[in-house]
């Protein structure tokens, strides 16, 4: 059976979701998926980009932004998510921060076979923290991003959007 992905998740679609959900700040560290999105975000006047040097920093910054009345979104890769464990625990879960973490799913494949341990441990990690998550592959899935925002706001917990688009979308 063919495993062809019919359409990719376009950066323009992701940006539209950010704007639709009134995101004010993107706290982020580049991953291999997000270069075209970066160019779009940079040109979007309603967004402030806050670059971090280690993904755990994104959790404390987002926590402060939320406490101050802003609406942050975190944009990192699954490797960085796994690095962020204690900050996720203390600064997002511990502070009841309902924000969306958009996470590039490095190593993800549609058939589930991967040689990349970044992918192997991603969902077990998310489950260990009891986080809800949604997988987004293509533009057809983009409405799940808004679902994640609604859920984060309602539960006051971080909600993960996994971008399973490696090698197909943003950097094509």
């Amino acid at each position: 059976m063919a495993e062809v992905q019919s359409a990719a998740l376009s950066p323009a679609t992701v940006l539209a979701e950010m704007k639709k959900n009134s995101v004010s700040h993107i706290v982020w560290l580049p991953d291999s998926e997000t270069n075209w999105l970066y160019l779009l975000m940079q040109a979007e006047p309603s967004l402030t980009l806050v670059g971090v040097t280690r993904e755990g920093h994104a959790c404390s910054i987002a926590s402060g932004l939320a406490a101050g009345g802003a609406r942050p979104m975190i944009l990192i890769q699954n490797t960085g998510l796994q690095e962020s464990g204690d900050s996720l625990r203390g600064w997002l879960l511990g502070m009841n921060v309902g924000c969306v973490m958009m996470v590039g799913y490095r190593g993800w494949t549609r058939h589930g076979v991967t040689t990349d341990t970044a992918a192997t441990y991603t969902e077990p990690f998310i489950n260990a923290y009891g986080l809800d998550y949604y997988l987004v592959e293509s533009d057809a899935d983009a409405s799940r991003i808004s679902v994640a925002f609604e859920e984060a706001e309602k539960t006051k917990r971080p909600v993960v959007v996994l971008v399973g688009d490696e090698y197909h979308g943003f950097n094509r």
Binding site: V52, T53, I61, S63, G64, A66
Partner: protein, 196 residues
């Protein structure tokens, strides 16, 4: 060196309506503050994050000063945060460092290379436009009006005495009577922020 409470007491007259994130100085600031609903005493949600939290607050509230009392153990865990702060360069951000050279909450073990790290120089090298270091209270006292009277970001490293706690955590006096959730709720109410 100076005592943490002395440094905080020197700062207090200059506070105005600034938001204060007292970090590991929280238990001392709790005895001094005259405006607790503009304080954000969080204890230690996760080590290394106070600077990020205060940066986020400063970015979200650009018209109000945010004063952070960080620790060297936290900063060493997140040195890259200095570059993020320097790049964002919030003019309302005042970054004080309480450097006691030890991990005081775990019994006073020295931080790596404790006697030789120049935190003000690290901040300057990361891109902060201003940074100073003080080990005498009188010098700090004299400099505070200018430090706080000019735009940030600024980094101010203070050498303080280690005030070590050796009692088991469960047996220590609870100085913060509010939960973290309540602290943020009180701040948001004071600032007129509608909680999401």
């Amino acid at each position: 060196m100076m005592r943490i409470a002395e440094a905080l007491a020197a700062f207090k007259p200059h506070r105005g309506d600034a938001i204060v994130v007292p970090g590991r100085g929280g238990k001392f600031w709790a005895e001094l503050t005259g405006n607790p609903n503009l304080d954000v005493p969080l204890g230690d949600p996760a080590m290394g994050g106070h600077a990020g939290f205060a940066l986020g607050l400063a970015l979200a509230q650009p018209n109000r000063k945010v004063v952070l009392f960080d620790s060297e153990g936290d900063i060493l865990m997140s040195l890259g945060m200095l570059t993020t702060i320097a790049e964002q360069a919030p003019v309302n951000f005042y970054h004080f460092l309480l450097d006691n050279e030890v991990y005081a909450t775990t019994g006073g073990q020295p931080v790596p290379n404790a006697k030789h790290v120049k935190y003000d120089r690290l901040a300057l090298a990361a891109g902060y436009p201003r940074a100073q270091a003080f080990d005498k209270l009188d010098d700090l006292d004299r400099a505070l009006p200018e430090i706080l009277g000019r735009p940030g970001p600024v980094f101010v490293a203070l050498k303080v005495y280690p005030e070590v706690e050796n009692a088991p955590i469960g047996q220590r006096r609870r100085w913060n009577t509010r939960s973290r959730t309540q602290v943020v709720a009180d701040l948001q109410q004071k600032l007129g922020i509608q909680s999401a």
